[in-house]
């Protein structure tokens, strides 16, 4: 094996290790998360009276909130109904994506 091939292979393995288990069956966290943007703002970066921002939220906090809504432990206006649509893997994928978004108002600075 040449060093380039070795590098290629290790990148593949590294990439595979980073994939969540059910990655092939569920939509990406990014696409799932972007579907929340119509209420929570682009990248979850709107700070408002009703729908809270999701950008920058700790993953555990996001996962707990979604599962509490889903399992009826937390009352919602609409989120209890919506959360029932998502599997654990989908919730985790969204959590990771929102955690990677900056927790600042959308449009407050131009894109990097």
């Amino acid at each position: 094996m040449t060093s380039r091939q070795y590098l290629g292979l290790s990148l593949v393995l590294a990439a595979l290790a980073l994939q969540p288990a059910a990655a092939r069956d569920i939509a990406s966290g990014e696409l799932l998360g972007q579907n929340c943007a119509a209420c929570h703002g682009t990248d979850g970066r709107e700070f408002n009276e009703a729908m809270p921002p999701l950008a920058g939220m700790e993953t555990e906090q996001f996962i707990r909130a979604m599962k509490d809504f889903r399992e009826g432990r937390r009352e919602g206006v609409v989120m209890d109904r919506i959360a029932r649509a998502y599997s654990d893997a989908e919730i985790e994928a969204m959590a990771a994506w929102f955690a990677s978004r900056p927790a600042t108002q959308y449009g407050s600075e131009e894109h990097e």
Binding site: L11, V12, D25, N48, A50, V78, I82, R84
Partner: protein, 434 residues
């Protein structure tokens, strides 16, 4: 790097790491000249979202948006223009941010045709724009011919539909203000599928609320070809609570399809409406006609015998013509309602599909969502909210989830939903236009 490891690398570290550019870096601009050209027709809710998200997902492509009007008026919240809570100006948005923040070429011109073989768009102003991928989101058009006596001209003068926000919305407002004391407002929703399924019932509700204050003996009569309508359970509960629905003194009456609510013809001179259950005279007549895909979709050849545009659901690619995606109200989308939220959701999927195809990524696993809030009164909201998945080739609700607002005895629920609606519109238009 071999193809497979390049793909894996991109997955793990993001496209920017491979391309060596930031989202809007200088080298991305230079690369764009040789890059694929994505052309979007229609700068409404679907098309504008497509322009923005295609850029977010594809830093290196060229994007052109062609829209016939210099500004867009949202239908969402236009029912409140009729009752004076908003002006059309409050609901008007332009294309400046899409141009500047997302580096989209915006052409204000009317598209008159597409040559799918040469992959070229023609405009009324004589421009020819070639594309690698076309995204079409032309909204709706009306089947006036299904109601005898009803025409585009009647809609503009005597019996507005106001189903595209604009001059007819204002005509309806003037007619409401001029309604004689104790007069009758007649509203006729269409058969499914149509744009904004809860819209006619929200409009009826808000007009009823306005009349209770300004014209207390007036009545609202809904003539419906259907036996059920979206959110009918919480809507009717709200009507009971706010307008005495179901009692002798109700301010609002709803005639279902099996009670003969289907409208057959209108006489705009006499202001009469003939339904299956007989003749009605009213002082204000709001006919919302049956609908079909936007005219542009017909001109391009994207429509089938249903009057709508069939698409491969996983990609929203036309099944009629290659390299063309159809999104928004014009597209067949099964269990999803024809809403702005749906159009926005379709657009985001297409942005991902375009990236996957242009960059050699794995096919996209689709997901969609829709939440529609409606007002039964200014401080009384109801909603329907669903997440959708691809099952058996069709867009279907994720089982055991979503659904309409529950009817409860908790007065906070409808009040909160009305607060959510107001929050939603402000956030939504930013997700679409900026």
């Amino acid at each position: 790097m071999s193809n497979v490891s390049r793909r894996a690398f991109i997955k793990a570290f993001g496209l920017a790491a491979v391309a060596g550019t930031g989202l809007f870096g200088a080298s991305a601009q230079a690369q764009r000249r040789a890059a694929a050209h994505v052309v979007i027709l229609g700068g409404g809710i679907g098309g504008s979202t497509a322009a923005k998200y295609t850029r977010i997902m594809n830093p290196d492509v060229r994007i052109t948006l062609i829209e016939q009007n210099a500004a867009y008026i949202t239908c969402p919240r236009s029912n409140e223009v009729i009752t004076g809570h908003f002006t059309l100006d409050d609901l008007t948005f332009d294309y400046e941010t899409i141009k500047s923040r997302f580096d989209v070429d915006v052409i204000i011109d009317r598209v008159v045709g597409v040559d799918p073989d040469r992959r070229e768009v023609r405009t009324q102003g004589g421009e020819r724009v070639s594309y690698d991928r076309l995204v079409v989101s032309p909204g709706i058009d009306f089947r006036y011919e299904e109601i005898e006596g009803y025409t585009a001209e009647v809609a503009e003068t005597r019996m507005p539909h106001a189903w595209k926000a604009g001059p007819q919305t204002l005509l309806l407002k003037r007619q409401l203000e001029a309604l004689p004391q104790g007069g009758t407002v007649l509203i006729a929703p269409p058969q499914n599928p149509f744009r904004c399924p809860p819209g006619p019932y929200e409009r009826s509700s808000l007009i009823t609320e306005w009349l209770a204050q300004h014209n207390p003996r007036a009545k609202v009569l809904i003539l419906d070809p259907k036996d059920r309508f979206t959110k009918d359970v919480p809507f009717k509960k709200g009507w009971e609570r706010l307008y005495g629905y179901g009692t002798e003194h109700s301010r609002i009456e709803w005639i279902s399809g099996s009670q003969g609510g289907r409208v057959l013809s209108v006489d705009p001179e006499r202001m009469t409406v003939e339904a299956e259950n007989g003749m009605h005279r009213a002082d204000l007549v709001n006919i919302i006609p049956p609908q079909k895909a936007g005219k542009l979709a017909f001109d391009i050849g994207l429509v089938d015998q249903t009057g709508w545009c069939p698409v491969d659901r996983a990609t929203f690619k036309s099944t009629q013509l290659d390299d063309i995606h159809v999104i928004g109200d014009s597209a067949v989308c099964d269990a999803m309602p024809k809403s702005g939220y749906s159009a926005n959701s379709h657009a985001k999927l297409v942005a991902h599909v375009i990236r996957a195809e242009l960059s050699g990524f794995d096919p996209v696993v689709p997901t969609w969502a829709n939440t529609c809030y409606s007002l039964v009164g200014s401080d009384y909201g109801v909603s329907i909210s669903d997440v959708f998945e691809l099952r058996d080739g069709l867009i279907q609700k994720v089982p055991d989830s979503g659904a309409v607002s529950p009817v409860t005895d908790n007065p906070a629920q409808p009040l909160l939903e009305s607060v959510y609606l107001k929050n939603w519109h402000r956030t939504f238009v930013k997700d679409v236009f900026s």
